[in-house]
C-alpha cells in the first residue's frame, strides 16, 4: 500500500518530509503518527492512513515531493527488504523507465502516478500535466478550457505566464518537485531536497559578500501570494483617522474591574477556545480586538467586503471569518477567527491570543490558517502612524491599523486631546468599489467611536 504526500492545506502543492516518526519494520495502526511534513503553511504530523508494517521509506527526510507522490509503503511484515542493498528499492517503482521518463525533471511514466492517488482526479491532458509538474502549477486550481473542463496545454501555459508576470513561482528549480522515488545517490543536485531553509552561502560580489538565504516553504508562499496579489488585484486605499477615545475609556474601566476581581473574569468558554498562556488572568480586550470585532460587525452589513473575487466571479460568504496577521519568526501568518461577528469581545481576545501563541510556537495547523474572509493587520505597536497593507487575495480587503496616540483634535470648536488611530482600508476594486469601501470603513469607524455596539 503506497502512502502518498497528503494535501494538508488548500494551497499546498508539495510538502517536505521533516522527520519520520516510524522506522522501516515498525507496525503502524491507522492514526499512528507517521511522519512530520512541512507544508506551505505549517509543520504537520501526518497519521498513518492504512494499517500494516512500514515496509519502505521512499522519501528521505528533507525531500520535497508533490502531492500524491509516494513517500512510503505500508504492507506485510514479510515485505520488509533485507538491510543489504535496500537503497535501490526506492527506484523500483518506475520499473524499466518508460521512454518518456528517460530525461527531464518533468518526465513521468505514462500513467502519471500523481493522478490515481489523489482524490478528485483532475481532468487534464498528459502534456498539460507535464508542464504543470515542471513549472509547479497546481492543476486543480486551473479552470480547464477543453471539452468538459479538461485542462489543456494552453490553460497551463496561461497560468505559467501569469505566475511569471506576477514574479511568482517563476518555475525556478526551487519549486520544481523532486523526481518520483528519489534514489539519493542518483538524484541530481537540483532535484534533491529543497535547500535547507535559512541555510546560507556567501559568494563574493561587487557589493561585498552576498549572504544568500534560501526561503522556507512558508516564506516562498508568502512571497508568491503577496506578489500575485499586487500584480493581479487592483488595490486602492481609503484612509481614516478614528477617534478611539471612547474605546480607551472603556478599556480602562475593564482593566480596573479585572484588577478588582482577579481570576474570575475568564469564563469556561475561554479555556475551551484553546490553551491561554495565563489561565487565571482576566482577559482585557486589546484595541486590536475591538477593531476586529468592529470589522466583523461591519462585514456582516457589507457582504461585498466579506467576499472574494475568483475567476471572474464574485463569491459572497455567509460566515464572517476575520484573519489577524501575526508576525512569526521570519514569516507572516494569518490565523483565522471564525464567526467573529458572533463572538463576544472577550472570546475574540482570548482566541486571538491563543492563536498567536500557537503561531509563535509553530503548532498552528492549516485549518486554523484558512477560511478567512477579511484581514486585519496592525503595526501600531511599532509606532507606525499609518500604512498600506497588501490584500490577502482572493479576499476583498484588508484593514491596516496604525498607532493609537493622543493628538490634538477639534471637538465642538475647541482643540482638545483625543486618542486617534490611523487606519487604511485596501480594497480590491474588482469586488469592492470606492463608495462601498468608504461606507464599510465609515461603519467600522462609527462602531469604534461609539463602542457600545461592540458589546452587543
Amino acid at each position: 500500500m503506497d502512502v502518498v504526500m497528503p494535501r494538508l492545506s488548500d494551497s499546498m502543492e508539495e510538502g517536505t518530509v521533516l522527520k519520520w516518526l516510524k522506522s522501516v519494520g515498525d507496525e503502524v495502526a491507522v492514526g499512528d503518527e507517521l511522519v512530520e511534513i512541512e507544508t506551505d503553511k505549517a509543520n504537520m504530523v501526518y497519521e498513518a492512513p492504512d494499517p500494516g508494517t512500514l515496509v519502505e521509506i521512499v522519501a528521505e527526510e528533507g525531500a520535497t515531493l508533490a502531492i500524491g507522490e509516494v513517500i512510503a509503503r505500508v504492507g506485510d511484515a514479510g515485505e520488509v527488504p533485507s538491510s543489504n542493498g535496500d537503497g535501490a528499492g526506492a527506484a523500483s517503482e518506475d520499473g524499466g523507465a518508460a521512454p518518456g521518463a528517460a530525461e527531464g525533471g518533468g518526465a513521468t511514466p505514462p500513467a502519471a502516478t500523481t493522478d490515481g492517488a489523489s482524490p478528485g482526479r483532475v481532468k487534464a491532458s498528459p502534456i498539460a500535466r507535464r508542464i504543470a509538474r515542471d513549472r509547479g502549477i497546481d492543476l486543480a486550481a486551473l479552470a480547464g478550457s477543453g471539452p468538459g473542463g479538461r485542462v489543456i496545454k494552453s490553460d497551463v501555459e496561461r497560468a505559467v505566464a501569469a505566475a511569471d508576470a506576477g514574479g511568482g513561482t517563476g518555475g525556478g528549480p526551487a519549486v520544481v518537485s523532486a523526481t518520483p522515488g528519489p534514489p539519493p545517490a542518483a538524484a541530481p543536485a537540483a532535484a534533491s531536497a529543497a535547500p535547507t531553509p535559512g541555510a546560507s552561502e556567501k559568494p563574493e560580489t561587487a557589493k561585498g559578500t552576498a549572504e544568500v538565504v534560501e526561503l522556507s516553504k512558508l516564506q516562498q508562499t508568502v512571497s508568491r501570494r503577496m506578489a500575485e496579489s499586487k500584480a493581479t488585484a487592483p488595490h486602492f486605499y481609503l484612509q481614516a483617522e478614528i477617534d478611539m477615545t471612547s474605546c480607551v475609556d472603556g478599556r480602562e474601566r475593564l482593566k480596573a474591574s479585572a484588577k478588582a476581581a482577579p481570576g474570575r473574569v475568564s469564563g469556561p468558554k475561554v479555556r475551551e477556545a484553546g490553551g491561554m498562556p495565563e489561565e487565571a488572568a482576566p482577559v482585557v480586550p486589546t484595541y486590536n480586538d475591538m477593531v476586529v470585532k468592529a470589522c466583523a460587525l461591519a462585514l456582516r452589513e457589507f457582504p461585498r467586503a466579506n467576499g472574494a473575487y475568483r475567476d471572474g466571479r464574485i463569491e459572497l460568504y455567509s460566515r464572517v471569518n476575520v484573519g489577524v496577521a501575526v508576525a512569526a519568526q521570519d514569516a507572516l501568518v494569518v490565523p483565522t477567527l471564525f464567526d467573529a461577528d458572533l463572538k463576544g469581545l472577550r472570546q475574540i481576545s482570548a482566541e486571538t491570543r491563543a492563536l498567536a501563541a500557537r503561531v509563535r510556537s509553530g503548532e498552528i495547523t492549516p485549518p486554523e490558517l484558512s477560511g478567512g474572509t477579511f484581514t486585519v493587520s496592525n503595526l501600531g505597536m511599532y509606532g507606525v502612524s499609518n500604512f498600506h497593507a497588501v490584500i490577502n487575495t482572493p479576499q476583498a480587503g484588508i484593514l491596516a491599523v496604525g498607532e493609537l496616540k493622543q493628538k490634538p483634535a477639534v471637538v465642538d470648536d475647541e482643540v482638545v486631546p483625543r486618542h486617534l488611530m490611523g487606519v487604511t482600508l485596501a480594497c480590491d476594486h474588482r469586488i469592492l468599489y470606492g463608495a462601498d469601501g468608504a461606507q464599510f470603513l465609515a461603519r467600522v469607524r462609527a462602531l469604534l467611536e461609539e463602542p457600545l455596539g461592540l458589546a452587543l
Binding site: 521512454p99 518518456g100 528517460a102 491532458s125 502534456i127 471539452p147
Partner: protein, 459 residues
C-alpha cells in the same frame, strides 16, 4: 418563398454536413445545390479519384505481385469502360446516401443556383421561376474550381483533374502538370495501369507540402512505376493536335494524349454576389472569416475551400459544424488548422498532420525525431508492403508531438491515430506505451513513437 433557420449554399462535404448538424440542433434547414448532392468531392474529385486508384492498386498488385502471392493471373487487363461505370456507380451510391440523410433530417433540397439577395435572403434560380427564401443564417459552402495555368486554356485535350478521372478512353500517355496531392494521385493511378506518365512540377520536390523524407519514398516508387518526374520544371506551353498534345515542359517537348492541369484551385463564388452582400474577400478571392466562420456580413458564414486553410473535404466538414453551431448559439470550438490531416492517395499513400521536421526546427522547438520503416513491422512482410516510413516530430521539452508523417499503402488510415494523440495532447511517451494490435501496420506507429527516445524495438 419559405423561411428557414439556416440555408446552406452548396451540398458538398462542407455543406451537407453543416445542414445535418443544423437539423440536429432543431433547426429548419434548406440546402441549395445546383448539381448533385455530395458536391464535387463526392461526384468529381475525392471519391472518383479513390475509386479509380483502387482499381489501379488491385490491378498492379495482381499483375506485378500475383505470383509472389500465389495467384496465377493470366490475361489480367484493365476494362476501362467497367472502371468508369464503377466510378459512376460509387458516386451515385454515395450521392443517394447524402440525399437519404437529408430526407431523414427533414432538410429541404433546393435545386438551383443561389445568390445572396439582401440581409437574410437567398435567391435560388432553378429550372422554374427564381425564388427568394429567408434565413436567419446563411452558410456559404460552394467550394472551389480548378485554375488553369496562365496562358493555357482548358479544352478536350487540356483537362482538369475531373477530366482526368473521367476520361472516355484509357490513354496511352499523359502529362500531368503539378505534383501536389491531386497530380500525384493521377500520375500514380495511370502509371500503375500501364499509361506512360510524365509528371511536371515547378518546385524542387514531389509532393512539395510534405516532409522530404516522405517524398523520397514516393519518388522511388514513382520511378519504379515508370513515371518520368520533371522537378523544377515549368509547363511553358502546349500544342494540340488531332490525336493529342505536345507539351513544352522546360526545354523538352513531351507528346501525350492529354495534358492534365492539377494546379491550384480558387473559391467558386462568382454566382454568390458577395460584394453586394458585404462579404469581404482577400485579393485571391478567399472569403475572410473569423475563427467561428463568420464573414464580414451579419448572419453569413463561409466554410471549406472558400476560406483560409487547406482545400480538403474533412476540414470543410468540421467548419460546417462550427458554422451552424455558432449560428445556433450552441457550444462549439474553433478549428485548429494545425490538426487538419493531409491525405494523398497515390501509391504509396502519404498522410501527415502538424509540422514537418524543418518547420518544427524553424519554429524553435527542441526537436526530437523518431523514424520507423514499415518494413520493421511484421505485418509489412505479411502484406508484402515494406516500402514506407512513419516519422514523428516531437518536442523534447514536454514530449509533445508536433507533427507526424506516414508514407505507406494505408497511411491515410494510419494517420488518424496520430491526429487523435496530438488533439488530445498526448505525447510520444504516452503513444509509446499504447497497445497496438498485432499483426498490423499500426505497430509501426508504436515503434516510431518509441524511436523518438531511441528505443524502437524492431529497428
Amino acid at each position: 418563398m419559405s423561411a428557414y433557420d439556416t440555408i446552406v449554399i452548396g451540398g458538398g462535404p462542407g455543406g451537407y454536413v453543416a445542414a445535418i448538424r443544423a437539423a440536429q440542433l432543431g433547426q429548419k434547414i434548406a440546402v441549395v445545390e445546383r448539381d448533385k448532392a455530395g458536391g464535387r468531392c463526392l461526384n468529381y474529385a475525392c471519391i472518383p479519384a479513390k475509386t479509380v486508384l483502387h482499381t489501379a492498386e488491385v490491378y498492379a498488385e495482381v499483375a506485378a505481385d500475383g505470383a509472389e502471392l500465389g495467384i496465377k493471373a493470366t490475361g489480367v487487363a484493365i476494362d476501362w469502360k467497367a472502371v468508369q461505370a464503377r466510378r459512376e456507380k460509387v458516386s451515385t451510391t454515395l450521392e443517394g446516401g447524402v440525399t437519404m440523410l437529408w430526407k431523414k433530417n427533414k432538410i429541404d433540397f433546393l435545386a438551383g443556383e443561389a445568390s445572396l439577395a439582401g440581409a437574410g435572403k437567398v435567391k435560388v434560380a432553378g429550372s422554374g421561376k427564381p425564388e427568394t427564401h429567408e434565413a436567419k443564417a446563411i452558410i456559404l459552402a460552394t467550394g472551389s474550381v480548378p485554375m488553369p495555368i496562365p496562358g493555357i486554356e482548358f479544352s478536350e485535350r487540356v483537362i482538369d483533374t475531373w477530366g482526368a478521372w473521367s476520361l472516355p478512353k484509357l490513354p496511352k500517355a499523359l502529362v500531368v502538370a503539378g505534383a501536389g496531392a491531386s497530380g500525384s494521385e493521377i500520375a500514380s493511378a495511370y502509371a500503375r495501369m500501364g499509361v506512360k506518365v510524365t509528371l511536371v512540377e515547378m518546385l524542387g520536390q514531389l509532393l512539395p507540402a510534405e516532409d522530404p523524407d516522405m517524398a523520397r519514398v514516393v519518388e522511388r516508387q514513382f520511378k519504379a512505376d515508370g513515371i518520368e518526374l520533371m522537378l523544377e520544371t515549368k509547363v511553358e506551353g502546349v500544342k494540340e493536335t488531332k490525336t493529342g498534345v505536345t507539351v513544352k515542359a522546360g526545354d523538352k517537348d513531351v507528346k501525350a494524349d492529354h495534358l492534365v492541369i492539377a494546379g491550384g484551385r480558387r473559391p467558386d463564388t462568382d454566382a454568390l454576389g458577395l460584394d453586394a452582400a458585404g462579404v469581404k474577400t482577400e485579393e485571391n478571392g478567399t472569403v475572410i472569416v473569423d475563427d467561428h466562420q463568420r464573414t464580414s456580413a451579419e448572419g453569413v458564414y463561409a466554410i471549406g475551400d472558400l476560406v483560409r486553410g487547406p482545400a480538403l473535404a474533412h476540414k470543410a466538414s468540421l467548419e460546417g459544424e462550427i458554422a451552424v453551431e455558432t449560428a445556433a448559439g450552441a457550444e462549439t470550438h474553433p478549428i485548429n488548422l494545425n490538426l487538419v490531416p493531409g491525405a494523398t492517395f497515390c501509391h504509396p499513400q502519404v498522410a501527415s498532420v502538424g509540422l514537418t521536421e524543418a518547420q518544427a526546427r524553424e519554429a524553435g522547438h527542441e526537436v526530437k525525431v523518431g523514424k520507423f520503416k514499415l518494413g520493421g513491422a511484421g505485418a509489412s512482410v505479411v502484406y508484402d508492403d515494406r516500402a514506407g516510413l512513419v516519422k514523428i516530430v516531437g518536442d523534447a521539452a514536454y514530449g509533445e508531438i508536433l507533427g507526424a508523417h506516414i508514407v505507406g499503402n494505408i497511411a491515410c488510415d494510419m494517420i488518424s491515430e496520430l491526429v487523435d494523440v496530438i488533439a488530445l495532447e498526448g505525447g510520444y511517451p504516452e503513444l509509446a506505451r499504447i497497445i497496438h494490435p498485432h499483426p498490423t501496420m499500426s505497430e509501426a506507429v508504436l515503434d516510431a513513437a518509441r524511436a523518438v527516445e531511441g528505443s524502437a524495438i524492431h529497428a
